[in-house]
């Protein structure tokens, strides 16, 4: 699809150019350069040790696991892993940056050029270039409303390992940007390198946005909107920023290169009032750290231990489990859902029905009760068993749906499907003798309808089926009912 076909009528003759910088908190147990715990939510400054505080005389030591996770990411996006990379100091003053510099990688990042294939909302796939990804340490948190007139600093987050993933400016709409962010989110969770908890700030995104006249090859002046931490906000912030820039330019103004913040409450971006002194960060190699070298051996070991990635998993679901592309995409997008699916499919002895149940009844129940799949009140084991009991004819599909609701609403998650079937007498009646007796009774009780059926009014057949199911409380095997009724009515 050409760029013109993707044109958004809202922007008229303007074309947005968007690049994202996503900060991924790596899920290590200890920090990038210190042994403090990275757990979220501890009392203020109880996870900031001498190194994190930048006390005089302390020194950084690189966390091996953070390096491994960065390499995993590099391999997953088909990037060149730079086996020799260098940590630099990025110098600027801010109260939540204890040393007055951030240890980052500037000239020689650990991950070079790669690419990420993104499925857009319409189902179209696009490959977005990844410029680089580098390791760095997170800053602490500034709290502006804890103490009147003061900004309060909690350094628990300071030093948490970050992988900053920088995309090429190849995104052409806010929804593409959001889709890219989502895909990245899914990928890092599959890799197990980030917990993906957006609410806790485990992934934060800066959006570089500019606009230009359609067909122009020259990039417009860009702004950077910082610290966006939800998929929805990415889309809203970028849309706002595109509209703002177009309005400024059409009014004859010009765009100022600046850092902006997105305010979700007002749904607007605004220029940050704290001006960074300049872009002169005086990067230079951190003399406390020697160059980081990943040996061939380590690289091979990490490659060999790579988990199955979303693309491969999608293919497997389609080719081996018989899912549709669409269903596979929906399930794979969320690693938790995919995990639930795998377990359900295993318990059910097949994937197709598992996918239908998960994308149908389960998703509906999750949405209705606003819970995540991890909080599902029906376990994957229970759902798998339920599917199996439908498949082997123990219960009907209709009873299955009732039973699912029973399981969902019954707080006791230890209940087994078989136990409930027995306790509630839900076992399907397939015994033809029993069904025949009931059918005979119903035929005898409804001579008028028998007459109509025989007179060619085939629709009445449904009435008889309904009566039999009513009489058996839905437990009669529908196929058996069908066969017996047809034989008796035609006889």
């Amino acid at each position: 699809m050409s760029a013109n076909e993707r044109a958004d009528p809202r922007w008229g003759d303007w074309e947005p150019v968007i690049g994202l910088e996503v900060h991924v908190q790596l899920s290590t147990r200890s920090k990038m350069f210190s042994t403090s715990s990275t757990a979220f939510g501890a009392a203020p400054n109880t996870q900031a040790n001498a190194v994190d505080l930048g006390l005089p005389g302390v020194l950084p030591v690189i966390n091996r696991e953070a390096v491994r996770k960065a390499v995993q990411f590099g391999l997953a996006v088909g990037a060149e892993v730079n086996q020799r990379s260098v940590f630099d100091r990025k110098n600027y003053f801010y109260p939540d940056l204890p040393k007055g510099y951030q240890i980052s990688q500037f000239k020689h990042p650990i991950v070079g050029r790669g690419a990420l294939t993104v499925t857009l909302p319409g189902g179209e796939q696009r490959t977005i270039g990844i410029t680089r990804a580098h390791l760095e340490e997170d800053a602490g948190k500034s709290i502006h409303d804890a103490v009147p007139g003061r900004t309060a600093i909690d350094l628990n987050r300071a030093g948490t390992p970050l992988l900053e993933v920088v995309s090429e400016p190849e995104l052409r709409s806010a929804s593409e940007a959001a889709a890219y962010f989502r895909t990245l989110h899914s990928l890092v969770r599959y890799l197990g390198i980030c917990d993906g908890n957006l609410a806790e700030g485990s992934m934060r995104c800066d959006a570089n946005v500019s606009v230009r006249r359609r067909g122009s090859n020259v990039l417009g002046q860009r702004t950077e909107t910082k610290n966006i931490n939800s998929f929805r906000f990415v889309e809203q912030a970028i849309d706002f920023e595109i509209a703002r820039q177009i309005a400024v330019l059409e009014a004859g103004g010009s765009i100022v290169q600046e850092t902006r913040l997105y305010d979700p409450d007002a749904n607007e971006t605004r220029a940050m009032r704290t001006k960074e002194d300049s872009d002169d960060y005086r990067y230079f190699p951190d003399p406390d750290l020697q160059p980081l070298v990943v040996s061939d051996q380590e690289l091979e070991a990490i490659a060999a231990a790579m988990p199955e990635l979303p693309t491969a998993r999608r293919m497997r679901y389609v080719e081996q489990l018989g899912l549709t592309e669409y269903d596979a995409e929906l399930i794979v997008a969320d690693p938790d859902l995919a995990e639930y699916f795998e377990a359900t499919a295993a318990a059910a002895g097949g994937g197709k029905a598992a996918a239908n149940w998960i994308l149908g009844d389960l998703t509906a129940a999750l949405n209705r009760d606003e819970c995540t799949v991890r909080e599902s009140r029906v376990s994957s084991d229970q759902l798998g068993q339920l599917i199996q009991r439908i498949n082997d004819g123990t219960i009907s599909g209709k009873i299955g749906k009732t039973l699912f609701e029973t399981l969902w609403n019954d707080a006791d998650t230890r209940a087994t499907v078989d136990g409930l079937i027995d306790a509630r007498g839900l076992r399907q009646v397939s015994d033809s003798g029993a069904i025949e007796t009931i059918v005979d009774d119903i035929i005898a009780a409804n001579p008028k309808q028998v007459e109509q059926f025989k007179g060619g009014k085939d629709k009445v057949f449904g009435f008889f089926v309904g009566q039999v199911m009513k009489a058996t409380q839905g437990k009669a095997n529908p196929k058996a009912v069908n066969d017996i009724l047809r034989a008796k009515l035609s006889g």
Binding site: G57, F93, F284, D288
Partner: protein, 493 residues
Amino acid sequence: MAVPTTVRAQLEALNRGALSSVELCQALLERTGSLEHLNVFISLNDRLLDQAAAADEARAGGSTLGQLHGLPLAHKDIFMSEGLRTTCGSRMLQDFIAPYTATALQRFADAGALVLGKCNMDEFAMGSSNENSFFGSVANPWDADRVPGGSSGGSAACVAAGLAAAATGTDTGGSIRQPAAFCGVSGIKPTYGRVSRYGMVAFASSLDQGGVMARTAADLALLLANMQGFDPQDSTSIETPDLWLENLKTLPIETLDEALTLDAKLTVGLPQEYFDSGSIGARAMDDIRTVIEVQGHRVQDVSLPNTGIAIPAYYVIAGAEASTNLSRYDGVRFGHRANDAKDLETLYRRSRSEGFGTEVKRRILTGTYALSVGYYEAYYLKAQQLRRLISDDFKRAFADVDVLLTPTTPTTAFERGAVSNPVTMYQQDVFTVPASLAGLPALSLPCGFKDGLPLGAQLIGPHYAERSLLCLAHQIQSHSDWHEAVAIAGVPA
């Protein structure tokens, strides 16, 4: 009471029971009290006598911690010692109580040594005269009107005045060797990475190296052995142990001479660039050269052609690293904070401007400039290229010779206040900076006097050659007596 002045003699006396740790500490404190005008200490350890008593008690009970049990040592006030004030000679850290202990000091503690006090120094180790201390300048024990050198000036004066048998120092561009030479004591800067930098306040990270000053090379060996060794908390720490040093710290003190015996005949290089200057230092090298030759070592000229460019390269690299190492002093988590700053920018600027002295600010500005956009390549990268050339000079020289012999300083100790131009002051380091840039071990030892002031000779070895330097210095000192000269014999009334 008169106490022995060397580490070895003090330990022998303690081990023999001729002296208790309490007696030794008391004697040193008394002497310190009577020589207060030297301004050697920024802080004394007020729990010292209790700790000495505990050491004596443990010894009486038959248990000693290690080789240095009960020995009081002085430390440059750049090393963290938990619970003690650690100022780095700066107003910025005037009230800073160390919340942890430096690895080097912990090693001494593990060997049983006690902390006598924390020595005066140039602020953040920046200086060659100890005149840049917020706590006042230090007097040279040989002549109180003269400087002791710097930046470890307090440590050198401490040993020279007999206030402790040994003191730690740090050396970034000569800060152990130059004051050792000015004060007539011995001092060693080990190979970069030999002594852990953890807990040693950073000046220039790729150059800083902890070391020790004492009266004799044998004492240096004993103390370095206990202070050094791999530290996982310092990413630049040398991982491969020096087996000779490791062994040394397990030996009985009496066998030290044996361990320090130099069997080999060495080839000693005289780098011509260090002698061309015709400085006082260079002219005074004949006598020590003779001692070396008499011991059967061969002396030959060598050339280190890039020596002249070392000072500019050093001041760029050290300035750049220092400018960012000192960014953490922002008045937020520790250190000096200006009163009543109404906004953050004012708080930063005033706290730092009040907390840092002139020379520190000068180096921060130099380093900031050198790293600025547009100058990084012309200054910082260029300096690192020169660093490679200087390092390669040494490598070539060490293909032909085992150690180098040079003067430590161009002059003897100068008068306080005599050098006010920073660029002139920087030239003080001309003979010490090249080895720092190359990360080489280097040792200064007394080699004579000029007008009653001590002169120092420097031995430089290849990486990891501490053993050669210490053994050669020990041999020289076994056949000369410059190191035995005493600055202040008795305590003045």
